[in-house]
């Protein structure tokens, strides 16, 4: 590890940092423009070409705004919460490969800040810490609406994290690794060839249910519409960040949009082959193309996120919880089981035994499914059978 290595590591980290920050600025502008087009408005178009510099102006405005702090706050937590949100959002993308591997002065450079063994678990760990920023902000503001927003967000994030973890687990089982670089490498093997074009084995094909679960949960985890109940402006003013202004509000804003980019990038990494794609041309182009593919794929998902916001109305809270606990979680559990079964069946030498065990398991599950309603309907012994109650309606008085 000499000075050149240190410089390269630093440059790779700086590149990721720049990509995500510039991406965030562009996303905020793009969201306003695309939403405006969907609503047949114009959107910001004054500052710079196509209004590109609008985000810069807004950011500068936010940082020079007067910083107002209510009297009723818990000062330490109130000041810390935006930092937690922004820091967590910043470090999450460290494990995502955003480009290919190429040679610089005889050394191999991989455009990925950190490629640990635990790989994508880092994403789960950081996204589970992200909730602290939001609900500490809600609690420490010392007023009702932010508190409600904070409570909503913690319940929502906890609920959807389970399904997200299960969908990731299915991919891990299928890929046989947690490491981001290996997951990407797994998807580069051609699935089959259509003449000259090789169709890559992207995980989205065999892991479609996992992708659907992951997509829905990541919309919920980033608290974007239609799952943006923690900051539902029609009910909670602005939710958890009602009492924040100026630079501290800017940090929440930044964290939210950065999370959108990070989760899009995770989806691309896990299900759409990451930065891989057909390489051609001279050396410099081959080094550049993976990053271009990566940005293009992420861009598609960013558009989908914006599209959702422009199309769908906000969900009702009980429906949100039902979707998380009664649909996505059982589906995720089932899919993890099915994936595990498929992998064991593929790798095992004695497939007959595996199939027999699976058959017995499926039979027991079916029996339990049929028997469960019989057990649940048993009347309680300590209550006498009540006479048929006369129908009651919400009347003012009896």
């Amino acid at each position: 590890m000499d000075l050149v290595d240190v410089a390269i590591t630093f440059a790779v980290a700086l590149g990721a940092f720049a990509l995500w920050l510039v991406g965030t600025a562009l996303l905020i502008w793009g969201e306003r423009r695309v939403i405006a087009l969907m609503q047949t408005r114009v959107g910001p178009n004054r500052l710079g070409p196509f209004g590109l510099l609008q985000t810069v102006a807004d950011g500068a405005k936010l940082f020079f705004k007067e910083d107002i702090a209510p009297r009723n706050i818990d000062r330490f937590v109130y000041l810390g919460a935006p930092f937690v949100s922004a820091t967590v959002a910043l470090v999450t993308f460290a494990v995502i490969p955003y480009g290919g591997t190429f040679q610089v002065s005889g050394r191999e450079v991989t455009l990925q800040v950190w490629d640990p063994n635990i790989g994508m678990l880092w994403i789960l760990a950081m996204s589970s810490l992200g909730v602290y920023g939001i609900f500490l902000a809600g609690w420490s503001s010392g007023s009702k609406y932010p508190l409600l927003g904070g409570v909503r967000s913690s319940a929502q994030l906890i609920s959807y994290e389970l399904a997200m973890g299960l969908s990731l687990a299915a991919v891990f089982i299928y890929a046989g690794t947690l490491q981001a670089s290996q997951i990407v490498a797994n998807q580069q093997i051609p699935l089959f060839e259509l003449g000259p074009i090789a169709v890559p084995a992207w995980h989205v094909v065999p892991m479609l249910p996992a992708f659907v679960i992951f997509f829905l949960t990541s919309v919920a985890e980033t608290q974007r519409p239609p799952f943006d109940l923690p900051e539902a402006e029609g009910e909670l003013v602005a939710g958890f960040h009602t009492e924040y202004s100026g630079a501290k509000f800017a940090m929440f804003f930044l964290a939210e949009f950065m999370n959108v980019i990070t989760f899009s990038a995770v989806m691309v990494t896990l299900f759409f082959g990451g930065p891989s794609g057909p390489l051609f041309g001279p050396g410099w182009l081959q080094a550049l193309l993976p990053t271009v593919y990566f940005i293009a794929k992420v861009g598609i998902f960013l558009f989908v996120f914006i599209w959702l916001r422009g199309t769908l109305p906000r969900m009702r809270y009980d429906r949100l919880m039902d979707l998380g606990w009664k649909v996505l979680l059982p589906l995720g559990l089932f899919w993890v089981l099915a994936t595990g079964f498929a992998v064991v069946l593929r790798t095992s030498t004695d497939q007959g035994t595996v199939l027999r065990i699976a058959g017995v398991g499926a039979g027991v599950a079916l029996l339990l499914y049929l028997a469960a309603p019989l057990l649940a309907r048993r009347p309680r012994r300590d209550t006498q059978p009540e006479p048929e109650p006369e129908p009651k309606f919400p009347t003012p008085s009896r």
Binding site: S128, L129, G138, W139, I158, K392
Partner: protein, 221 residues
């Protein structure tokens, strides 16, 4: 005991990053644990506990147990403490329970059992590795005699990958304790459901303006 540990620490090269990280994070860990006990505000105390979990995760990472470090963050900091804070926030922190329901002799007993627990854990986990025969580092894996268990060394433990190693251990040698723990958690969850469950009556779901002349059934009884 401490002399051997100090000798071990002193034997590390002074510029060793691991040593300084351990000093810093260890101090932070102890400090946050103390602060968690001493702080008055329940939310602040819970946050100190989160910080403590985080420092312990860093210590795991320094010991090259990456999987344990990340799982520590996901499970404890990310799930359990979030639920904890959720409950504190819902109940309201201002409603502190007065400390009058103390058992007789609770304080001294707590200290006594704390010391006992510490001693038992030290004797069972740490003691086998601090005998004169326990050698880590260059002579790792070689039983030098003298009663101490030899350290296997990080390289041997992490052979074939940290995650794979933990997975293999968890689903072969330790599958029974692992499953028993999960059953224990299920039982606890069922208990919480049974205790917290309220049978909803039809009357509760209907808005009825109370008429003092004609009270509803449960008040008449």
């Amino acid at each position: 005991m401490s002399a051997a540990v100090l000798a071990q620490i002193a034997a590390e090269p002074p510029g060793s990053a691991e040593f300084w990280v351990f000093l810093l994070i260890g101090a932070l860990s102890l400090g946050s644990a103390l602060a968690m006990v001493l702080m008055r505000n329940a939310v602040h105390a819970a946050l100190m506990l989160v910080l403590n979990f985080f420092t312990i995760a860093v210590l795991y990472a320094v010991l090259e147990a990456q999987f344990l470090a990340v799982v520590q963050i996901i499970v404890y900091a990310g799930a359990i403490m979030v639920l904890f804070l959720f409950v504190i926030m819902l109940l309201g922190v201002d409603r502190t329970e007065p400390v009058t329901r103390k058992l007789p002799g609770q304080g001294p007993l707590a200290v006594l059992f704390g010391i006992l627990l510490f001693g038992a854990l030290s004797a069972s986990v740490v003691a086998p590795f601090i005998g004169p025969g326990s050698v880590c580092g260059a002579a790792a894996g070689v039983d030098a005699g003298g009663g101490g268990l030899p350290c296997a060394g990080l390289a041997a433990a992490n052979e074939g990958g940290n995650v794979e190693g933990i997975g293999a251990l968890l689903f072969t040698d330790f599958v029974w304790p692992f499953e028993v723990t999960s059953v224990l958690l299920v039982i606890a969850a069922l208990g919480a459901i049974v205790l917290g469950r309220q049978d909803e009556k039809a009357e509760d779901l209907v808005d009825v303006v109370r008429d003092p002349a004609n009270p509803p059934d449960e008040e008449r009884r």
